[in-house]
């Protein structure tokens, strides 16, 4: 139980995937303009990341590891992630066309979101047990969502702020992301596994 709680704490705050490990920067900057799409993207990533970790862990342990096919892990994981993203896309298209529209090109781009691949690979490398791996997936995706939502909140305010011409657009966004990352640096070393 203690391990699970520390995994949650570590991968949401201390080792935040976006702000500390710099995974998934593309959607982080791409869909953080509006809170609504940011939350939608977070939900999609939470689903895909959790499912991906779960499925890849199972596949790795019971298929790849069993038959000595560890070298196939990246190919297999890509297959899993791509399928999951496709699944989310088809589902979302039916259930919430608005969100589907809002996420636009970033939805299929979850496939190439390195954060998800990283979670799948790290879960194996850290030799997590099944439950730990799943919790790790949830925590990492929550960390991603946290970063995305904070960023969206800031950017919505920035829209109204009086920003000097030179900083407008991506400049101020990147600076904001940097400062946000620095802020999360405060959690560094607070807890390790």
């Amino acid at each position: 139980m203690e391990t699970l709680l520390s995994i949650i704490f570590i991968y949401i705050l201390v080792d935040n995937f976006v702000l500390q490990r710099f995974f998934g920067i593309c959607p982080f900057l791409g869909v953080s303009r509006k809170m609504e799409t940011a939350i939608g993207m977070s939900m999609a990533v939470i689903f895909v990341m959790t499912m991906a970790t779960l499925v890849t862990w199972l596949l790795y342990t019971f298929v790849l590891d069993r038959f000595n096919l560890q070298y196939l892990q990246i190919v297999t994981f890509i297959l899993v992630i791509a399928s999951l993203v496709q699944l989310v896309e088809t589902t979302l298209r039916k259930i919430s066309p608005t969100l589907y529209q809002g996420l636009g090109i970033f939805l299929p781009l979850i496939t190439t979101n390195c954060a998800i691949m990283a979670v799948a690979l790290l879960a194996v490398r850290e030799e997590f047990a099944f439950i730990e791996a799943v919790v790790f997936g949830v925590a990492a995706s929550l960390g991603f969502s946290l970063a995305l939502v904070i960023m969206a909140g800031i950017r919505e305010r920035l829209e109204l702020a009086n920003i000097p011409d030179v900083l407008q657009g991506s400049a101020v966004t990147l600076i904001t992301a940097g400062i946000l990352s620095l802020a999360f640096q405060g959690f560094r070393g607070m807890l390790t596994l």
Partner: protein, 298 residues
């Protein structure tokens, strides 16, 4: 994690193929089931239009990707011409798919409506601030005596993505007619609204190159080539193509047939044929109509 080598290579390869194939198969089946369950009826036109588009998902149209643009086209939100990288070729194909006539978007070209350059239009004071028309405009209403004239600090030049406009030696922006795409960015960039886009149409028509709505007396004090609202051109025009708009003569280029009557009667020489705009600033005096007019005036 250590790789065990107790199985031989051939078996290993077969395992690899089988397991990866099976995983792929399982996901494939899952996905096709999901696609059945969550099937959405898509307008078949969207697919067709998507195929015509370049498919670069560049986002230049303002939509997230080509599919979104295709949907917008089907909904009638945007013109097929909205796909910038596709150009006219794509536009034609799109229109064909939609069974529409191509809405001929008439090519336009930017034109600067001011010829009060450094020599002709007086300055009120020496401006030493930021090289930006909008800033200068805010600073006591600009440094030019004429409150409507071009400040020549080049906001239009900086905003042009095609390098089609530049500040000439006389301090006024000159539009390179060939390079101008009529995108209209300079129109919005000019704080004094001196730039307008006009239909290209073989450059036909004459123009009153002044934007001042001031009284004639005020204009002639500030600028030697401003429209003084004397109405001479209005009377001279045989086709009634010229009208007064708040003390400024405006020529309707649709009616104008380039007879040039107005050029010779204009006392400050403010009217030019459109064909002469690019070079007019270099050799104003060499133009026959202009030369005659200045002789008449003096």
């Amino acid at each position: 994690m250590t790789i065990r080598y107790e199985v031989n290579l051939g078996v290993q390869i077969i395992y690899a193929i089988i397991s990866l194939g099976l995983i792929g198969l399982v996901f494939g089946v899952l996905l096709s089931v999901a696609a059945r369950i969550f099937a959405v009826k898509v307008d078949p036109r969207v697919d067709k239009i998507k195929d015509v588009l370049p498919g670069a998902n560049c986002g230049a149209c303002g939509y997230a990707g080509c599919v979104q643009f295709a949907e917008a086209v089907v909904r009638g939100e945007v013109n097929p011409s909205g796909c910038i990288p596709g150009g006219t070729e794509t536009e034609k194909n799109l229109a064909a798919e939609l069974g529409q006539e191509i809405a001929e978007t008439e090519p336009v070209v930017a034109t600067v409506f001011c010829i009060g350059d450094n020599e002709k239009a007086a300055d009120l004071f020496l401006y030493d601030g930021v090289e930006d028309c909008a800033v200068a405009e805010r600073f006591y209403g600009g440094f030019k005596a004429c409150g409507y004239g071009c400040l020549g600090l080049g906001n239009c030049v900086r905003v042009c993505p095609f390098e089609a406009i530049e500040i000439g030696s006389h301090g006024l922006p000159v539009v390179d007619q060939a390079a101008c795409t009529g995108c209209g960015l300079c129109v919005n960039a000019c704080p004094r609204d001196l730039i307008k886009t006009l239909p290209r149409r073989s450059n036909q028509g004459h123009l009153v190159l002044c934007s001042s709505h001031e009284r004639g007396k005020t204009v002639s004090k500030a600028c030697s080539v401003g429209c003084i609202a004397c109405r001479a051109c209005v009377k001279a025009c045989p086709r009634e193509a010229i009208d007064m708009d708040e003390k400024l003569a405006v020529i309707d280029i649709d009616k104008c047939d380039d007879c040039g009557e107005c050029v010779s009667v204009c006392p400050p020489v403010t009217i030019y044929p459109r064909t002469a705009i690019p070079e007019k600033l270099a050799d104003v005096e060499n133009r026959p109509g202009v030369a005659a007019a200045s002789e008449d005036g003096s």
